[in-house]
């Protein structure tokens, strides 16, 4: 066991403790804020450390010293560590943004005493889903983050949010039930829910049953990741939430689904029997999503549709089932989390400055708020894939992987991807022209933007630019992560080092039981 392995549970434990403390101190809003910022900063530091450490091999912790596969284990390999670091940075930025917003609006505007603990629980759930090395624990992580997201989405309980929330909650519950059923069937078929042990055992079970399990898991994760036929819930529910909440949902929640799909496709079902179906789903997600975005005239809804559309790129990379495809996908996920969250934060700023997100009633922002224009323009171009920004690099990686694959389906997707990025550019430029350059139909209200909100949104935009500047090392990391995914024995070996068991105290007892 690595001497730094004690770090692995911290991203889950620290926010959970913070949430408990923050809830207990609900009468002390100032203290609550300090707790939540400190907890999220600690998570960011730990995640960055894990990012460096995991490059030398996965870090594994058997929780409570119960040896895997009997106990639950947390695994921080390159993919998990990268996801964790990016998500920690984003959650911290969004938290700072919402603090500044709370400061400006006064605390009476929103029930902040609930907001902070719930937000921390969301962060813990996301970390748990990323780190878990056990199918059932991934389910628990999902439920933690979903429960927190239900509360955040319906914060305040206004009519509009209850409407949006009821759709969101029912769809999320359905996907959780599907996931639960898939886990039960997996256990019935393979007798384990530990990912590493499943990777060893699944090839031995009946191919038909294996396909059934794969389809069930993909459908469950597909709803969470908003892949096309299962994506209708997302643009209906996200835009009604408060700006920081929408931003963090858009950045993280769908990506947890994408992460789970990567994990399942690479570790459990590497033979790739669903790849063609995923390809078609990716194409439909990209094209239908972006056509939806083109039709919208509300900025937040437009961004929600581009979110759905760009999930298609990631699924495309996964479905290519090559190291090049996976590494491009991983880089794209990291890029998209930061850029999409940044755009939603800026949309929140636009709503504040212009009094609306409807592109029909906005206008002339370029003159009255030029800084806001820069903050919108950079991530918008980044999302559209203009060189040399990170969106371009991710897309080029995907296109290269697609051309390398060479099958007609992959080439169709390459064309679809280019078309989608053009349409993305079209939709965003339209929003840019409408919100920033047209003569406003009515004079905009006079509002000031709090410095803290602008600052944290700017921090995310700069972070997006850093992805471009540091693209070489980061892409290299993504490539190494993809290589580790392709060579499954590394993961399995580090989870189950001693002839099919993890390290821990239950080893002996289990031996006795077997004999």
């Amino acid at each position: 066991m690595n001497e730094y392995a004690f770090l692995v549970p911290l991203p889950v434990v620290v926010p959970l403790f913070g949430a408990g403390l923050a809830l207990a101190l609900y009468r002390r809003p100032r203290l609550q804020r300090i707790i939540s910022v400190v907890a999220l900063s600690v998570v960011l530091v730990v995640a960055a450390t894990l990012l460096v450490l995991a490059d030398d091999g996965p870090l594994v912790v058997d929780i409570g010293n119960w040896a895997a596969p009997v106990g639950i284990n947390l695994v921080a390999d390159r993919l998990s560590a990268l996801m964790l670091t990016v998500s920690a940075a984003v959650t911290l930025c969004v938290q700072l943004y919402s603090l500044a917003q709370g400061e400006a609006d006064g605390d009476e505007a929103a029930p902040v005493s609930i907001y902070h603990p719930t937000y921390l629980i969301l962060a813990a759930g996301v970390a748990n889903a990323f780190l878990s090395g056990d199918l059932f624990n991934i389910y628990v992580g999902f439920e933690i983050l979903l429960a927190a997201s239900y509360v955040l989405l319906t914060l305040g309980g206004t009519g509009e949010r209850i409407r949006a929330g009821s759709i969101y909650v029912v769809v999320a519950l359905l996907s959780s039930l599907l996931f639960l059923i898939a886990i039960a069937l997996t256990y019935a078929a393979a007798g384990t829910v530990n990912l590493a042990q499943l990777a060893e055992r699944l090839p031995e079970i009946d191919p038909g049953v294996r396909l059934l399990l794969q389809v069930l898991l993909l459908v469950a994760f597909g709803i969470k990741a908003a892949i096309f036929p299962l994506s209708a819930w997302l643009p209906d529910s996200y835009p009604t939430a408060p700006a920081p909440v929408t931003a963090v949902f858009a950045g993280l929640l769908t990506k947890v689904g994408v992460y789970a799909i990567i994990r399942v496709q690479t570790l459990l079902f590497p033979e790739g029997r669903m790849d063609d179906v995923l390809m078609w789903a990716a194409l439909a997600t990209m094209v239908v999503g972006i056509l939806g975005a083109v039709a919208q005239d509300d900025l937040k809804r437009l961004l929600s549709f581009t979110l759905v559309s760009h999930i298609g790129y990631m699924i495309f990379g996964i479905a290519l089932a090559s190291q090049a495809g996976w590494s491009a996908s991983i880089y794209y996920v990291a890029h998209h989390i930061i850029v999409q969250t940044g755009l939603f934060l800026v949309a929140g700023l636009i709503e504040r400055r212009g009094g609306s997100t409807s592109l029909d009633s906005l206008g002339g922002l370029a003159k009255i708020a030029p800084l806001l224009g820069i903050l919108f323009f950079i991530p918008a171009m980044n999302l559209g894939g203009i060189p040399p920004l990170s969106g371009f690099l991710g897309k080029v990686g995907l296109m290269q992987a697609g051309v390398q694959d060479g099958s007609w389906l992959a080439l169709t997707l390459v064309v679809g991807g280019v078309l989608t990025s053009l349409l993305t550019l079209y939709a965003l430029i339209k929003a840019w022209n409408k919100a920033f350059w047209q003569t406003p139909p009515e004079p905009l209200p006079d509002a000031r933007l709090p410095k803290g909100m602008v600052g944290s949104a700017a921090a995310l935009v700069v972070l997006g630019l850093t992805l471009t500047v540091a693209a070489g090392p980061l892409y290299g990391y993504a490539e190494r992560a993809a290589a580790a995914l392709a060579d499954r024995s590394v993961y399995v070996q580090s989870v189950l080092p001693q002839d099919g068991r993890g390290s821990g105290e239950s080893v002996d007892a289990a031996r006795e039981e077997e004999s």
Partner: protein, 175 residues
Amino acid sequence: MIDMSPNLVLVGLIVVLVTTGVYLLLERSLSRVLIGVVLIGNGANLLFLVAGGAAGRPPIVGLEPAGRMSDPLPQAMVLTAIVITLGMTAFLLAMAYRSWQLHRHDEVQDDLEDRRIARLAARDERAFEDADTEDSTTTLDQEAAETRDETDEGEPSPATHETHDRPTGDREEAR
């Protein structure tokens, strides 16, 4: 080795629970959806029991021979799942109640914005009215003459104002 042949009564019960659950899930009223979720959730929980094999003796090492124990792992998972479903049910109930408080019903409503866009599509109308793509009577030369100087801090000239106003006016009429 545990006996892995499934208990038919349990399987039948799961089928009934899940099918009725799916039927209720398709309803529009939140309280019926809630009952549907609970039923499917219970179906999934029973599925775990089937997945664990036939029931056996208590799984305590040293008290029972290993071969006769029942599998404790699915039971632990079912317990977790039950607790989670309980929490979600409570939340959904609260939401249905809030919806009833606000609207005197708990039906899942349509997204108004979505409806509006769909109506535009049905009338084959553009979501955006672009001032510069509308048919305007002014020529480019006229527009150039009227265009406000960037350095001029005064009000835009009335002529430019008109061209910008027209599309919005048109749309009001269409409504």
